[in-house]
Amino acid sequence: MRSERARRLGALAALLGALCAPGAAQPVQENDMKAAYVFNFAVFTEWPQEVLAGGAPISLCASAANPLFHALSQLNDKVVNGHRIAVRNTVTPVRGCHVLVLDKNDRERWAQLKRELAGAHVLTVSDDLSISADGAVIGLSVDERRIAFVVDMAAARSARLNLSSKLLRLARSVQ
């Protein structure tokens, strides 16, 4: 189990390593990088005990239409702080999710989702600028071929999520 985990982590590190090496032989897919970011966000986020008991899996939800879905599904069964990731190909019901990844396809139902999310402890990660600007906890963007993110602390607080200061330090902006 341990060696398997090490292998997986090794793969992730290799992935990230490639990210930092612009002259690397293989161009890495932007989606894979974003999926890795999502994984890292989960690592630096703390959920209240009642929604994520010790050893319970983390539900990572994204609609199958999301371009990231394929990359995200690679995260299935990976372990974050002792919690196995379970990838679900739906965004509803949102209350069953721990991490909810959205993109521009989700713009229409965002208003609806936002209402459902009120009082829920969900880490919303948006790959769409308008959703990011409208109450998503973390918004991803690509800036000069580098992936960056912004954090909406008001949204994080209302979701009662505790984001690590280490993560906040890396954010391009924190509101």
Partner: protein, 633 residues
């Protein structure tokens, strides 16, 4: 002369002590510095480990997101830590994510697995610490920090400098203390040496020093096959100065004598004062007898002029004995004794002169020693006897007195003449006991005769007093006790004191004589004409009788006539009776009878005889000398 060796040794010892202390201090300092270095380095490593842990903790997100900028920002915080020269964040594969370098330090390489295991590494000029970074339960990278030891070493250098300065200061202080202590010890030693070897009165070497120097001189003479001359000098009549002017004057005189000796003698002659009024001069080499003679003469000449002491002009002479090593003795003790013997001969020959030691002197001295040793036992062994010589009144032809004369038959030496043993007894002090015994025996015998009625016609039993006895303060008590014990009337006792003894201490003796006279004791001056009597004293002495010295009697008729006649005339005019002793011939008897002498004593009449013989004589003659003897004249 032999103080240089120990002094050098002392200096060497002190230097060795200081060097030992310096070495110990050096070792201690080095140990301290090493300990200090290890402690400082340990503290530095601990600091770094705290820092590397903080950096490691803060760089986990940067590693996860591969955010080099965030990593570098984290590392930039190290800029405030002055000893940190370089730091890097590596991912798990060893790729550098971010690095920090102070100035132009090279970028750090990824840590080896061994370094990751231990966490730190000490090099000569730097310390490396490595911390693994964990996140999500995984090791995701490392942080390596390198700190230079330059600051530490410069602090250590300052510390070492301070230690060195303190060590040097304490060494200098210790050296100063040791030096001053050594100086004090040396002063004390020098003072002790001075006290032990120098005579305080004259500042000359003392007896102790003399023994050392003489021993040294003899050794030198043995090696060089030369001789050593020893002059022993004794001041004549020094005691008189001490007794009359006090010890201060005596000491002052000794100092002046010492100064004069130093001026007179060559610088290589060694002059020591070995006690009392005795000085010795070691002359090297002493092969030339004439030179020794001339040294002795020079000394006598130098002492001839008067000394000014406390306002008095003192004339002092000396008697010198000369002995030569190895001719006269084979060792220092004997050599000194030989010189002493020669000196005594010089004294006996009339003082103010010198004598060179001869073997015959030694023999005489030996005999003297033997006599003294035997004389001390003579009283206990009953070897002494009194003989009595009758004294005849010329007018009545009767025995009017007897003189008690001491005889000694030693069981070892045989018969010893009083001329030999009396001076020995005088010198050794035995004379006091001897004199008391004579007085006691004579008085007891006289009492016996008196009880037998044999002393009816006899006026006096004469006993001789020695010089030493007259100085004995208990003399008068002794005489009174003896008279009381024997019941002998004081008038029957006659004390004979020689003119010489009487004149030695006139005032005290006049007093003594008055006490004798007061007790009723008859007094007679013995050996009259040989001393230096002053006529005025003669008048003042409460005496009854003069005895013409036998030397004048011997010379009559002839050279002695004038003196004998004069003494008789003078005595008669002073109302004193005159005794002639040593009368041996009819011619002498005739002359003295003619001259008016009152009483005679001598072989012509009777030899000194033991008690039974005299008792018989007294009994037979009924104390009346038969006329034949007188008629012969």
């Amino acid at each position: 002369m032999n103080t240089k060796g120990p002094r050098l040794l002392g200096k060497k010892m002190a230097l060795t002590n200081i060097l030992t202390a310096a070495a110990a201090l050096c070792v201690a300092s080095i140990a301290l510095i090493v300990v200090q270095f290890l402690a400082l380095r340990g503290a530095l490593a601990d600091d770094l480990r705290v820092q590397v842990q903080i950096i490691g903790n803060n760089s986990s997100a940067a590693l996860m997101f591969r955010d080099a900028k965030a990593g570098e920002e984290t590392l930039a915080g190290l800029a405030v830590s002055p000893s940190v020269t370089a730091a890097s964040i590596f991912d798990a594969a060893g790729n550098t994510l971010a690095s920090y370098q102070r100035n132009t330090e090279p970028q750090l390489a990824p840590p080896s697995p061994a370094l990751v295991g231990t966490g730190y590494d000490y090099a000569v000029d730097h310390v490396d610490v490595v911390e693994a970074v964990h996140a999500n339960g995984q090791q995701i990278g490392f942080v390596r920090i390198r700190a230079t030891l330059d600051q530490l070493l410069s602090r250590l250098a300052a510390y070492a400098g301070l230690t060195l300065a303190v060590a040097l200061c304490s060494l200098a202080l210790a050296y100063a203390l040791v030096s001053s202590m050594r100086r004090a010890v040396r002063r004390a030693e020098a003072h002790l040496h001075f006290l032990a070897h120098v005579d305080a009165v004259t500042a000359l070497p003392n007896r102790h020093e003399f023994n050392e120097r003489l021993g040294f001189a003899l050794e030198k003479a043995d090696r060089a096959e030369t001789a050593v001359g020893l002059l022993l000098l004794d001041l004549d009549n020094f005691k008189v100065v001490n007794d009359t002017l006090g010890h201060d004057a005596g000491d002052a005189l000794l100092k002046l004598v010492a100064d004069r000796l130093l001026q007179t003698l060559r610088s290589n002659d060694i002059i020591c004062r070995i006690g009392g009024d005795e000085f010795v001069i070691i002359v090297e080499p002493g092969d030339d007898m004439q030179e020794l003679d001339s040294v002795a003469r020079k000394i006598l000449a130098a002492l001839a002029s008067p000394f000014a002491v406390h306002g008095h002009q003192l004339y002092i002479s000396a008697s010198i004995g000369v002995s030569v090593y190895p001719r006269d003795a084979r060792d220092a003790r004997t050599l000194t004794r030989s010189a002493d013997t020669a000196m005594y001969h010089a004294k006996n020959r009339g003082k103010n002169g010198f004598e060179v030691f001869q073997m015959a002197m030694e023999e005489r001295a030996q005999k003297r020693l033997k006599i003294e040793a035997n004389l001390r036992r003579a009283l206990e062994n009953n070897e002494l006897q009194l003989h009595y010589q009758p004294q005849i009144d010329l007018r009545s032809a009767r025995v009017v007195g007897v003189e008690a004369l001491l005889r000694w038959h030693c069981h070892e030496l045989g018969h010893v003449s009083p001329a030999e043993f009396i001076p020995v007894a005088e010198e050794s002090g035995i004379i006091v006991a001897l004199g008391r015994w004579v007085l006691q025996s004579a008085c007891r015998q006289a009492a016996v005769w008196r009880d037998q009625g044999l002393l009816d016609t006899i006026e006096h039993v004469a006993v001789n007093m020695s010089a030493r006895q007259t100085r004995d303060s208990g003399l008068m008590d002794d005489i009174e006790a003896i008279l009381a014990e024997t019941g002998l009337p004081a008038r029957l006792l006659e004390l004979e004191i020689t003119e010489g003894v009487l004149m030695e201490n006139v005032n005290a003796n006049i007093d003594l004589l008055h006490r004798f006279q007061g007790a009723g004791i008859h007094l007679s001056i013995d050996d009259f004409g040989t001393g230096y009597s002053s006529m005025s004293y003669l008048k003042r002495f409460p005496i009854d009788q003069l005895k013409i010295d036998r030397s004048f009697v011997h010379d009559v008729p002839g050279d002695g006539e004038a003196i004998a006649t004069a003494i008789i005339a003078m005595a008669h005019s002073l109302d004193l009776t005159v005794v002639a002793e040593g009368v041996e011939t009819a011619e002498q008897l005739a002359f003295l009878q003619q001259a008016g002498c009152d009483i005679m004593q001598g072989f012509y009449f009777a030899r000194p005889m033991p008690v039974p013989e005299l008792t018989e004589l007294l009994r037979q003659r009924r104390a009346c000398w038969h006329a034949e003897a007188l008629q012969k004249a």
